[in-house]
Symmetry: C2
Subunit: 406 residues, 2 copies
């Protein structure tokens, strides 16, 4: 199947429009802080959520609203997470009500999200103003504004769209995302809103989303902190008029492959844009005894503070890679493990049969100074593979998070 990148972001699929603007949740008028996505027709909808026991009020409300597998709009503000506030749920519900009224839809058809500081009372006045304005300015060109409006400490706008042919019909999928800090696997530790015009039931949509998130969004780690607020949602308008995907089979597999293209694009984008990051780290584990082991090792290595700091210093400290593998909780035979690191500048092996071996420091330095580095861990004890994405630990991470609120 050919999957082609197209423009338009979340507005690329048929039926969707979007908008983003500054409403005043943030003081800085230069920074958009509220986004809306709308669909002309009712959609199948699904979402996966943070596993943090302390989760934001918007998560509670979106969960309620998506129980029936239906949605038509997303409303999301940045600058305030509306989490750990006594009146949080009430306010998240009010955001849905305002959105529903402005768009003439049911309030249970709204996906609500917030991102920003935890424990700060949310002022609904700017939100109310924003929702009214957004509902009037929705357009097919608004996807990028929406992508900007959900950013917090992100430095890169994250949007993508693809198209694929499913059962003879062209289907489109679009997405925006925000990441940056508090990013550690376990759904979703960031926000991403996906749209598609595929015809698919809520059940199969959830199944496809869960599978793709597990392989992509959930395999990112910026700092080991699983956020309270984050989710990946998807709305499917059905306007592509493909045969309804209501069970597993070719159509479902094709849709999942296209959706995986979205996740596979967003995961490294989010990792690369981790707070203060200067390098994207990709950890490929192959030949693991099972998938759990492959994923645990890939995530464990990418999440180690000492590994992350060593990449900031471009220092080929193979022992730290082994150390992180050792404590990550995976069960494996160390004596079969080999490790190499590679980048545009070449490739170098430093571990064989579980032991460190001599290598060229000079060559390794050259390889590690690049901005995108791949760690290849060959386990040679089974058929399971996994990839995880992360970034280096830098002075700037400490700086950004030493005084995030001010």
């Amino acid at each position: 199947m050919t999957i082609k990148k197209i423009s338009g972001g979340v507005c690329a699929p048929k039926g969707f429009s979007a908008a983003g603007m500054h409403c005043g949740v943030r003081k800085n008028r230069e920074k958009k802080d509220i986004a809306m996505i709308f669909c002309d027709v009712e959609c199948s909808a699904a979402a996966v959520y943070t596993t943090n026991k302390v989760y934001g009020a918007p998560i509670t409300v979106t969960r309620e609203n998506l129980k029936n597998g239906r949605a038509r709009a997303v409303i999301c503000n940045s600058g305030n997470a509306n989490t750990s506030n006594a009146d949080g749920v009430e306010k998240a519900r009010a955001m849905c009500k305002m959105t529903a009224e402005a768009l003439g839809i049911s309030k249970s058809d709204v996906i609500v999200a917030s991102t920003g500081v935890i424990g700060l009372t949310l002022d609904l006045e700017p939100i109310e103003y924003g929702i009214k304005e957004l509902s009037k300015s929705l357009s097919k060109e608004g996807g990028n504004d929406a992508a900007q409006a959900i950013m917090t400490t992100d430095t890169l706008v994250k949007e993508i769209a693809v198209e694929a042919v499913i059962g003879g019909k062209t289907v489109r999928i679009g997405a925006i995302a925000k990441g940056s800090g508090m990013i550690h696997p376990n759904m979703a530790t960031m926000l991403s809103f996906i749209t598609t015009d595929a015809a698919i039931t809520p059940e199969m949509l959830h199944k496809a989303l869960k599978s793709v998130v597990d392989k992509t969004y959930n395999m990112i780690s910026v700092d080991g902190d699983t956020s309270t607020n984050d989710m990946v949602s998807v709305m499917a308008s059905g306007l592509a008029e493909n045969d309804l995907i209501d069970s597993e089979g070719d159509g479902f597999e094709a849709f999942k492959a296209a959706l995986e293209e979205i996740g596979g694009y967003m995961a490294p984008m989010i990792a690369k844009d981790g707070e203060g990051a200067t390098r994207l780290l990709i950890c490929n584990v192959s030949g693991a005894p099972d998938l759990l082991c492959a994923k645990t090792v890939a995530r464990g290595v990418i999440a180690s503070s000492l590994v992350k700091a060593m990449f900031f210093g471009a220092d080929a400290n193979w022992g730290r890679l082994l150390c992180a593998m050792g404590y990550c909780g995976a069960d494996f035979d160390l004596s079969k493990v080999s490790i190499s690191m590679s980048s545009r500048a070449g490739s170098v092996q430093g571990v064989e049969n579980g032991f460190c071996i001599p290598f060229s420091e000079e060559e390794a330095k050259k390889i590690l100074l690049e901005s995108e580095i791949t760690i290849d861990i060959s386990m040679d004890q089974g058929g399971a593979d996994a990839t995880a994405w992360g970034c280096d630990l830098t002075y700037d991470y400490v700086k950004i998070n030493g005084d995030y609120r001010s």
Copy 2:
């Protein structure tokens, strides 16, 4: 029971002498790199080890040697961890043989340890020279030299000794330790060698050690990285001539209390001296439903990168404390949780019934600018308590670990 601090470190208990010097494992001649502790008589001995699957060769060999619960000497080098090397076990055994020959004891009576860079071949030549010299310079005044010789990136020498009366006899316990980086609970993620002149069986010694380590050494986190090499060992000479502690009871409890004094001193010392640290963080959890929950929450909060960074910035971001509690894996009722922070400068509450509440930013700033800060988490849902020790995440942590090997 009165437990009194005394001088002398590991040499305070009857029967023990020690020495430390520069032998040449490290290039820098100013830095001592090999330590020896010796006992005039055979000791009951016990140790707890790292849980990292990738563990150092010295761990393998010490485990073998302590199987019979007996030891008379510790030999430890810094600068090279002798880990992930194909000839590591062979060399750790050679270190025991050299020590045994120099001291005229059995090689299975030696506790061997190494700390430093992983994956670097260990040169035995300086070690052999060092062992010979150390065996000639052992003295009752050598404890501080030994404490210096096991340091890596530590900035503070860590030694202590206490005495207590057990069954009418004065018993002494002494210890040295090193910490700094790769410090995260799960035995022991650092090295500490403890000596005592108590008369106690190897079994009861192990039991006391395990209990104390779980409450103290294992409740430290510097960076979430569990090291490959670390252990806490204890040797008991019996020269205090107390009634042999061979079962639970008053004598055992008194010994454990004195040993806990050692762990309770070393844990904050190690946390405070975490790589790059500027502040000691103490997290007290009270009223947890069970001990596992109390420990998981205390460790989870202290280990969060975002929490650690916020203390570097002296920023009272209560949401991050709640966030870390939420993803640490503990099961609890959020609605009963209150959180305060305190230091010499005062105390401030920021969370009540699981929600953030208004607080004085000015007061909080003053409190958080101190060098020792306590986070009090009151869970109000049971009788279990725990304390964990950590430190802030700073530019210097990144700097130290961005280029540790050079």
